[in-house]
Amino acid sequence: MTSGTTQGATNGTTIKRDEVLKIAHLARLKLTEAEVDALSRDLNAILAYVGTLSELDTEGVPTLDHAAEAGDTWREDAPRRPLPRERALENAPRTGDGCFAVPKIIE
């Protein structure tokens, strides 16, 4: 990817109503009509602002996923006592047969 295509994408983008609905579906949010309108407006304002990043030439700059020190994470693969089943289920909205219960999946 060149920085040229990056600039084109961020400067030119505005998010339309049908796209808000698509994103909401991906995010598993069932928005109200009023929320769709408000979010279209807010997201466009925020995207215009974050689009200022396209001013920077980042050609060849590596990404930074996090600031943690690498190579630091090994531990013994020793078995530990797991959370007892009944405790794991304590906060569940619905349980059945010692499992989390959900609405019927297969029609």
């Binding site: 295509t5 949010l29 997201l43 600031a67 906060n91």
Partner: protein, 485 residues
């Protein structure tokens, strides 16, 4: 001075000398909470019975000469840290009533040290906000002026310390959520280096940025609290195995010999002139105390907020996918079918700002926009980090304002999300770079609202940062001012 107004280290000395028991200290703090909490609303839950039981245990430890620095010390925890059997809500409807089946590492370490948890404090829902107004349970008020916000997202912890409703508190900081409310409430707030403190049991917002840290009444207390919660944790793969230094060893060594950098990009138009003047006066204090002051440049500062709102929301959209109404939290019981249940539960359970950030993050990660937004932001994150690494070749600590303004009025910024995001303009870069930073009281504006000065340290060099902080504090009286309540 009343016991609730003591610093942690003063209380420690008096507990160890037998001048007061942990029971009496805890009662004094709980009475203080009962008196001032109705006007502040810092706590989501006050764990009175739990606190009294813990205080009795602490007294037994003190009698056995087994007391550590925190034994019998009344503290508050931000309500996004898992506490076994104690409700942990993140100030969200979706987690109302949730009682974790385990303690997070920080609450567990504090318990093991004998600290007395007085309650769980209010926050912006899932720590998303800069005013604590995004709480599903109503805002916390600033103890200095109850018509104003305490800052956020850890506004409850900041207000609880400022109002003497605990001796110290823990918060979490993803983009300024400890330092900005500390500044607005006139207390000390410290964000450790990323990886210094375990995140296990901290409800995840943006995992590459989140870090737990203390709110205290002075710098020595911050060093004590940091020491208590720092160190490697096998349950958090991002926690560092570097040994924890003795933060008290050189704490009072003074500013002589330190080089303090002043990043010119932080002293520009847009920030409140009274804030800039107070911070400049603070820099003069450090110079008088013997520090060498030099100007430095962090050229990518202007891009930090934009970078952050892509990185943090992308991570949040992923982290918050776990709230699906299946294993814990709110479920819309009337929804037909699994997909409808997910969507209806999340719609009813999340507040406006959380939805806004999930949407922005999902968009930034979605096909077609990933490179332009998320990947671009991660590249800019590298540039921001490099700025700091270069600056720290020549200086030991950086000094900046913590927040561009003092406490704003409740409701003043809620209509404009971007304006609220810019509240964190001076704190956000530090999270992106993974560095430690601390906010210190450095004065008050014409209306009596506190102003915060931020010191930023090298990664894993909290000790030098605290040394500079103590030197500043020892030469000033700002940290001794208390609100009238």
């Amino acid at each position: 001075m009343e016991p609730f107004a003591w610093t942690l280290h003063e209380a420690r000395e008096r507990l160890d000398r037998g001048e007061i028991s942990a029971r009496e200290l805890t009662d004094a703090l709980l009475e203080r909470v009962a008196r001032v909490e109705p006007g502040i609303r810092a706590y989501n839950t006050v764990t009175e019975d739990h606190a009294r039981a813990r205080a009795a245990e602490a007294d037994a430890r003190i009698a056995d000469k087994q007391a550590g620095p925190l034994t019998g010390i009344g503290i508050a925890l931000k309500d996004n840290m898992a506490t076994e059997g104690l409700e942990t809500t993140c100030s969200s409807r979706i987690l109302k009533g949730y009682k974790p089946p385990y303690d997070g590492t920080v609450p567990a370490r504090l318990n093991a040290a004998g600290a007395v948890t007085l309650g769980k404090t209010n926050l912006d829902e899932f720590a998303m906000g800069s005013s604590t107004e995004n709480s599903a349970f109503g805002p916390t008020r600033n103890p200095w002026d109850t018509t104003r916000a305490p800052g956020g997202s850890s506004g409850g912890s900041a207000a609880a310390v400022a109002a003497d409703m605990c001796l110290a508190a823990l918060g979490s900081d993803t983009g300024g959520s400890i330092r900005q409310p500390a500044a607005l409430c006139g207390v000390v707030g410290l964000k450790p280096t990323y990886g210094r403190v375990s995140r296990y049991g901290l409800v995840a917002f943006a995992s590459s940025l989140d870090q737990i840290g203390p709110f205290t009444k002075d710098v020595e207390d911050a060093a004590l609290m940091l020491a208590a919660v720092s160190g490697h944790d096998p349950l958090d793969s991002t926690s560092s195995s570097r040994p924890v230094p003795d933060y008290l060893a050189d704490l009072k060594a003074g500013a002589r010999g330190l080089t303090v950098g002043v990043p010119k990009e932080y002293f520009v138009e847009g920030a409140d002139p009274e804030v800039l003047a107070a911070v400049r006066a603070g820099i003069d204090v450090l110079a008088r105390e013997g520090a060498k002051v030099v100007e430095v440049s962090l050229p990518h500062t202007a891009y930090a907020v934009a970078c952050y709102y892509l990185v943090a929301t992308a991570e949040a959209s992923s982290n918050l996918s776990r709230y699906d109404g299946v294993r814990y939290g709110y479920r819309d019981a009337d929804a037909q079918g699994l997909l409808e249940m997910y969507m209806a539960s999340r719609e009813a359970g999340f507040g406006t700002e959380v939805k806004r950030r999930i949407m922005l993050g999902t968009y930034a990660l979605s096909a077609g926009y990933y490179d332009a937004y998320y990947r671009k932001a991660q590249q800019v994150r590298t540039l921001i980090r490099r700025d700091f690494l270069e600056a720290f070749e020549a200086v030991d600590v950086l000094v900046t304002p913590t927040s561009p303004t003092t406490a704003f009025r409740l409701g003043e910024r809620t209509a404009d999300p971007l304006k609220m995001y810019l509240s964190d303009i001076f704190t956000i870069s530090v999270n992106l770079a993974g560095l430690p930073a601390v906010s210190l009281p450095c004065g008050r504006d014409g209306e009596g609202c506190p102003i915060g000065l931020q010191l930023i340290g090298r990664a894993f060099d909290e000790a030098t940062m605290l040394r500079a902080a103590w030197a500043f504090e020892a030469a000033t009286d700002h940290h001794k001012a208390k609100p009238e309540l």
